[in-house]
Symmetry: C2
């Protein structure tokens, strides 16, 4: 096993002023997927865009909005908070917005080799 | 996208008195991996055992111990707490023990089709 934490590794600053900790990266030998932790600062957001792989997320801290499309293609905005999980399909446009006063913190899992 | 929460779906009772919420299951069309939330009650534990697929976990609540082996095969016990992430390799024996007074809650991701 391999154990790490958001406190013991450096975060990466992403394009929109957010922070990403790549907690369980390819380099440790994960067979299938990579586990990261994302933090969107208060009133920040991720870019609105898409990529050819899925996100599976779990909200740990904060309050926000996930903008995307329903599984049958309709535009949707959904409030998210701790205890919520979301699946964002490959090639689905999406955006995370922090609409609260504390960081929006999320576990975000992606396939190995996608980024 | 598909959004759900630990409050809106039923948990499954697992063999050792723990609780599992299968938040992002195969049925919603996930291409590669399934995201679950696990809760080990105070002073409870999971079984000590192994399976042919990996776990990738992120601790959300509580305090516990992860018993397993290092990546080079040495027995190890490691304290875990919120903000920690762990990779448990396929076929590695492991156990989660809750050594605190609040539930040990963890996101636990496994490959699609493994269970």
């Amino acid at each position: 096993m391999y154990v790490t934490s958001v406190e013991s590794i450096e975060s990466v600053r992403t394009g929109h002023g957010n922070f990403m900790w790549v907690l369980l990266p390819e380099q440790i030998g994960v067979p299938n997927f990579v586990l990261r932790y994302f933090q969107v600062p208060p009133h920040g957001a991720s870019g609105y865009g898409k990529h050819p792989y899925e996100h599976e997320i779990f909200v740990v801290t904060g309050q926000g909005v996930l903008k995307g499309r329903t599984l049958d293609g309709q535009p949707v905005e959904q409030a998210i908070r701790p205890g919520d999980a979301a699946f964002i399909a490959p090639n689905e446009e999406h955006q995370f917005r922090n609409e609260g006063d504390e960081p929006l913190g999320m576990v975000c899992v992606v396939p190995k080799g996608c980024e």
